[in-house]
């Protein structure tokens, strides 16, 4: 019932936001939506394991990812208010209506308990996020939006083929609703060849959303152009949607003979993601693109963690959660950086710590956090991944990953240091820094603080929920 109310309310709020006669009303609508999303997350925690509206279930993974979205909703809305404050009313309304729609569709995707419903909501997120990427109405925004829609649609079509192959594992006369529970019952007895093909299609298809090799390019472009609060969502909660699509199918087939094949595919995709991310980060010239490649690198690690198995399962989910908090705070900070430096080009950035100390502190703390340097909480899952590699005897993957992560750490730290302390290499940007209130960084410090706290203490409810999500996997 609660979910039905949430969906109806979201549709109404998105519509009202679009037609709102004033910015203050639109702001109120966005805040009401955030409150309803947080209420839904609380409801999901209380009713974990229950099914609503037949097609939605509050299981461990969905509740975790929904909670991350709920945690990010208010900061995203708040930074969105700042980003769009000089927009015309029409554009302001379109932005917030798109944002409400995007978060609603992501919620639907998280909670879906059948492949087809999940797929429909993933497709819907493409539509909503396209509106947001195109927000600035520039040529470059049009290009990014076009690429995003085109490649995502192709990817989604491929994922759909994977779902059709999933459908083929049913026998004639069955009622194939493709729910995860019914699929899990027949997957173990299905033809392994069909399972392998379905998995490959699903990985390639959903990797457009997860930002995993080979379909990663589209998210990189989208990140670099979208408004920073939207980039924060694309880079975290929307990538989590792609992860969930792959994770669901992986979970379904985990008890079948194709598990080693799936692990190999994920490790290969993960290592190649790390390789490409490291290469591009070393030559990055655009701050937001560098952060986008950092997300790509983290998704690669998540894929490797799943592929390695054992402790890797726990690490994958913990990394997904902590990465979402850390990366979103860095992307929120990009909104302030652009108002201070008027550029995202690395050569033109510099002296940020002097110009805006609060922002500089966020950048440095965010850098330490996202690179999983202690006391970052992300150190814990990354350490677990490496320990799982050692336990599993995956020495080659271990060595390659360590080398590539070293490049990533070098590339990112030198660039963030340059932005914070060095003088710009070229004087491309013009104009004085805007006045930016240091209080705008509070939400970023809170999120980063949560990630750092996770290094010392992981609350039992979190550990329990992650353990519940991975209970079906072989030990």
């Amino acid at each position: 019932m609660m979910l039905l109310i949430f969906f109806i309310l979201s549709i109404l709020l998105a519509g009202f936001a679009l037609l709102s006669p004033g910015k203050a009303i639109t702001k109120g609508i966005a805040v009401v939506f955030s409150a309803s999303l947080i209420a839904l997350a609380i409801h999901a925690w209380i009713n974990t394991g229950s099914t609503e509206l037949s097609y939605f279930t509050f299981d461990g993974t969905s509740v975790l990812l929904l909670s991350v979205l709920a945690l990010l909703t208010l900061p995203t809305v708040y930074h969105g208010f700042i980003y769009t404050r000089y927009d015309t009313l029409k554009r302001f309304n379109i932005y917030h209506s798109g944002l409400i729609s995007l978060m609603t569709f992501m919620t639907g995707a998280y909670l879906a308990n059948t492949m087809t419903v999940l797929w429909i909501f993933v497709e819907a997120t493409t539509l909503a996020v396209a509106v947001l990427i195109y927000h600035d109405r520039t040529e470059i925004a049009l290009e990014a939006t076009w690429k995003y829609i085109f490649i995502c649609s192709t990817g989604i079509a491929l994922a759909y083929l994977g779902i059709l192959f999933l459908g083929l594992i049913y026998g004639r006369g069955d009622t194939p609703n493709l729910s995860f529970s019914s699929l899990s019952q027949v997957a173990a007895m299905a033809d392994p060849l069909y399972l392998k093909i379905a998995f490959v299609f699903v990985v390639v298809g959903f990797s457009t959303k997860m930002g995993l090799f080979p379909m990663h390019t589209v998210t990189i472009d989208a990140h670099s152009v979208a408004p920073p609060p939207v980039s924060a969502l694309i880079s975290t909660t929307l990538m989590n949607v792609g992860f969930l699509g792959i994770f669901r199918v992986y979970s379904l087939f985990a008890s079948s003979p194709v598990l080693p094949f799936m692990n190999s595919v994920l490790i290969l995709a993960g290592v190649l993601s790390l390789l490409v991310a490291a290469g591009y980060m070393l030559k990055a010239k655009h701050v937001k693109r560098m952060l986008a490649y950092s997300s790509f690198e983290n998704m690669g690690l998540v894929a490797i963690a799943l592929g390695i198995g054992g402790q890797g399962y726990y690490a994958a989910l913990l990394l997904i959660i902590l990465h979402s908090l850390a990366k979103s705070s860095l992307f929120y900070q990009m909104g302030q950086l652009s108002r201070i430096l008027h550029t995202f080009r690395l050569d033109e950035c510099g002296r940020y710590m002097k110009l805006y100390p609060a922002g500089g502190a966020v950048l440095l703390t965010g850098m330490i956090t996202i690179l999983a340097i202690p006391p970052s909480g992300m150190f814990i899952p990354e350490f677990m991944i490496f320990r799982a590699m050692v336990t599993g005897g995956q020495w080659l993957v271990l060595v390659v990953s360590v080398i590539l992560l070293t490049f990533v750490i070098y590339a990112m730290s030198t660039r963030i240091m340059h932005i914070s302390f060095s003088s710009p290499r070229s004087e491309g940007s013009t104009g004085q820094p805007d006045a930016v209130n240091p209080a705008e960084t509070i939400s970023q410090f809170v999120l980063l603080g949560l990630v750092i706290a996770a290094c010392f203490y992981q609350p039992p409810f979190l550990v329990d929920m992650i353990s519940r999500s991975i209970a079906i996997f072989p030990k």
Partner: protein
């Protein structure tokens, strides 16, 4: 009868590889719509009437009429009539296409399944291959669009192959059609400059 339609569909795919004029592509896309409509009518005997009518309307009006009309408008705006000045030559594409057909037939035989017609599977795989080939080997945005529509037809054909058992899946495939048709072609297709390959502002 269905087999004749499917074989005709496969022939049009080979023609896709050798065609040079954009107007030919548009006609082929319209023909695909008609052929898919025929296949749906003959194949989906177990589907209820409302579902069948929905599928016929989708193929006949959307795939065979509206999409070609939108493509025609985009091409008309661009003033470009040929594609191969900015693509792999047609002769090589023809070779790739025939190789793709052989691979698809071999794959379909490997994937033999009692619930799916092998010819369907082979041609669906070949359609997917042709769509991706058009996207990869061509540089024009309009060619990418056409490639995507061919990929979509592959999905549709595949869903028809299992459609007697899963009508719901066909409807979802149709949702994809509507989504892409309305958004990509209707909005972005008309906003971009489709005669160029200038999508190069975003790079590292």
């Amino acid at each position: 009868m269905v087999n004749y339609l499917i074989v005709t569909f496969a022939v049009t795919l080979i023609y896709f590889a050798s065609a040079e004029r954009l107007s030919t592509y548009v006609r082929l896309i319209a023909l695909h719509g008609l052929l898919l409509c025929g296949i749906a009518v003959f194949e989906l005997k177990e589907v209820n009437l409302v579902n069948l009518l929905f599928i016929i309307a989708e193929t006949l009006f959307f795939k065979a009429m509206i999409l070609p009309w939108l493509l025609g408008r985009i091409i008309g705006r661009s003033g470009v009539t040929r594609v191969h000045r900015q693509a792999v030559p047609g002769f090589y594409l023809l070779l790739f296409s025939i190789a793709g057909l052989l691979i698809s037939v071999s794959l379909a035989r490997i994937l033999l399944n009692p619930f799916i017609n092998t010819i369907y599977l082979a041609i669906a795989l070949f359609t997917l291959y042709t769509g991706l080939l058009l996207i990869v080997t061509h540089q024009l945005i309009i060619s990418h669009l056409i490639g995507f529509l061919v990929v979509e037809n592959a999905v549709f054909l595949f869903s028809l192959a299992v459609g007697s058992e899963m009508p719901m899946l066909i409807n979802i495939g149709i949702l994809l059609d509507l989504f892409v048709g309305a958004l990509i072609l209707g909005f972005f297709g008309l906003k971009l400059k489709p005669h160029t390959n200038e999508l190069t502002m975003l790079k590292d």
